[in-house]
Symmetry: C2
Subunit: 329 residues, 2 copies
């Protein structure tokens, strides 16, 4: 393996076309990479692993796997208000991909997709590890974050508006389509909407620009990976506050159109993989943000009273039996 591992890394991940950052001193090919961080910033660091059959269906294309593995890490930077800089990749590939022809096609598609997304964000691959085993991708990402204004989960204050950066629920429908499950969730959809759901699942858009815009004014933020109710619960716990969500205000993806209202809300509240940002903001800052970002939507308000209440248009509380809700209700 050492020889083939080395060649593998060399041939697919030492892309001469990739971004070349001035703050990288030594890249792929030594025991460590060496970076020279800018002095006026802190560094935000996150690590995420995607496992085949757990985080993406086994039939996912290498292009989509690479995209998503990097995008979810970018999304963590976005949630802190950080600017992407470098990443490392640990790629575990099944043995058959080491020895058969398709391995090369797989790696070519994977690496092209990875470098394409990285270059959009001026992000450079600086090191990696390649091992044999069940397909898994671990990426650690590092980015610059303001010394004063990183967006933590712990800063939400009673009275803050709760805002999401886009519509929710499409990735959950995409997963149904990918797994050919819950057909009633998507049989009524147009081909275009099916594609949209599928793209939401496989090609999540990390809200880097939005995070950078918000870092000086948001009181708290995170990215929606496990579902709104579960993720918002982390903000409530970390900030020691509660919240009211106004169900009618939650921006529902067009791809939820086959579902009745209650089922659509449940999907938007508990479906994972949306990778929109959810943040809280003092009310006086909302109008200027809204002007720049009409796609952002206020969905609730932080309360001093603990717990999360889900209110319909009549002010009636919705009871949902989801794990996330049980946790924080």
């Amino acid at each position: 393996m050492p020889g083939s591992e080395f060649q593998l890394i060399q041939s697919f991940f030492a892309d001469p076309e990739q971004v070349t950052r001035p703050d990288l001193v030594l890249g792929i090919g030594d025991d460590c990479a060496i970076v020279a961080p800018r002095e006026q910033s802190n560094l935000a660091i996150s690590i995420d692993t995607l496992i085949s059959g757990v985080h993406f269906p086994h039939n996912t294309t290498p292009d989509a796997i690479a995209y998503k593995a990097l995008a979810v890490n970018l999304s963590d930077l976005a949630a802190m208000g950080a600017e992407p800089a470098w990443f490392t990749l640990s790629l575990t590939l099944p043995e058959v991909m080491y020895n058969d022809r398709p391995r090369e096609q797989w790696l070519k598609q994977f690496s092209q997709s990875l470098f394409s997304l990285a270059s959009e964000h001026n992000l450079q691959l600086i090191g990696g590890d390649t091992t044999r085993g069940p397909l898994a991708i671990t990426i650690q990402i590092s980015g610059y974050v303001s010394k004063e204004n990183a967006m933590k989960r712990s800063g939400a204050k009673p009275g803050d508006l709760i805002i999401v950066t886009g519509a929710l629920g499409a990735a959950a429908i995409g997963l149904d389509i990918a797994l050919e499950q819950n057909e009633e969730h998507y049989t009524c959809l147009s081909e275009q909407h099916k594609q949209e759901a599928f793209r939401a699942l496989n090609y999540p858009q990390a809200k880097i620009k939005e995070g950078l815009r918000l870092q000086s004014i948001a009181h708290s933020a995170l990215d929606l990976s496990d579902g709104l109710v579960s993720d918002l619960g982390h903000i409530l716990t970390a900030s020691d506050v509660g919240a009211k969500l106004f169900l009618e205000q939650i921006p529902l993806s067009d791809t939820l159109v086959c579902l009745n209202k209650k089922k659509a809300w449940e999907t938007a509240l508990t479906g994972g993989d949306d990778y929109e940002l959810c943040f809280t903001l003092a009310e006086e800052n909302w109008s200027s943000v809204k002007q720049e970002h009409p796609e952002f939507t206020v969905i609730g308000v932080i309360t001093a009273q603990k717990g999360l209440r889900l209110l319909d248009a009549d002010g009636e509380e919705l009871k949902m039996h989801t794990r996330g809700y049980d946790h924080f209700g």
Copy 2:
């Protein structure tokens, strides 16, 4: 999973006893960790994945798995002459460990071993990810490295002495013992030597202090993970030089005593997992280093002529049919 994942991380990896570094701004529990790197240094970064059944036998204890996963990353820092600072952990655990009693014992032993080694090196866990799947551990480590003197693989010069920091081959014997294979390699060993081999395999000692000592004078360095011939090949390629190794000078582990001389050399030259440093040095610097580190041994010399030659006491060249040797011979 989100709920249990979160609790898992909280309960086992948010150790209040662990190292608290002043250059950590925000630790485990947010979308990213935030660090404030010292301004006078660069950062060295490395990532390594260990997979059960590939990098360690399935029957390895959680204590040893954690130790080794961190030690091999520390060893990468040692090889650059870096000082450990922070690490992130991605832990993939089989489902049964999430739901059964033994999961907790496993995690307790794993995390205690991890934090124990980390604290020896003033190294802090700053983030992680926990996923379901076949047992795998990915660690990314970061450390401070001198802006001037990081030890790269590419700096070896003709005339440099080639030096290793300790005896070779014990981990290969340890692997034979762990896998109950090649019994003739270890049946003659005393119980103490068997233990020593087993420890070499499972508890490699990262040469951090040695790396820090060497960083201002070594021309090139790496750590021995894949075997001396294969790893030294990386220095030769990166530095565009060749080397002569003097077989009689290679420090053989006492645990190779059951093997004849040629087989012992082969094991020392190609056995993996030793995690000694191999470095090159101008001859005039050797005597002072040797005085401080009598356990270091000169094993060869860098040559302008390409290729790696393995010479016995009579100056005869040893031909070995190992993959590493074929690569660079």
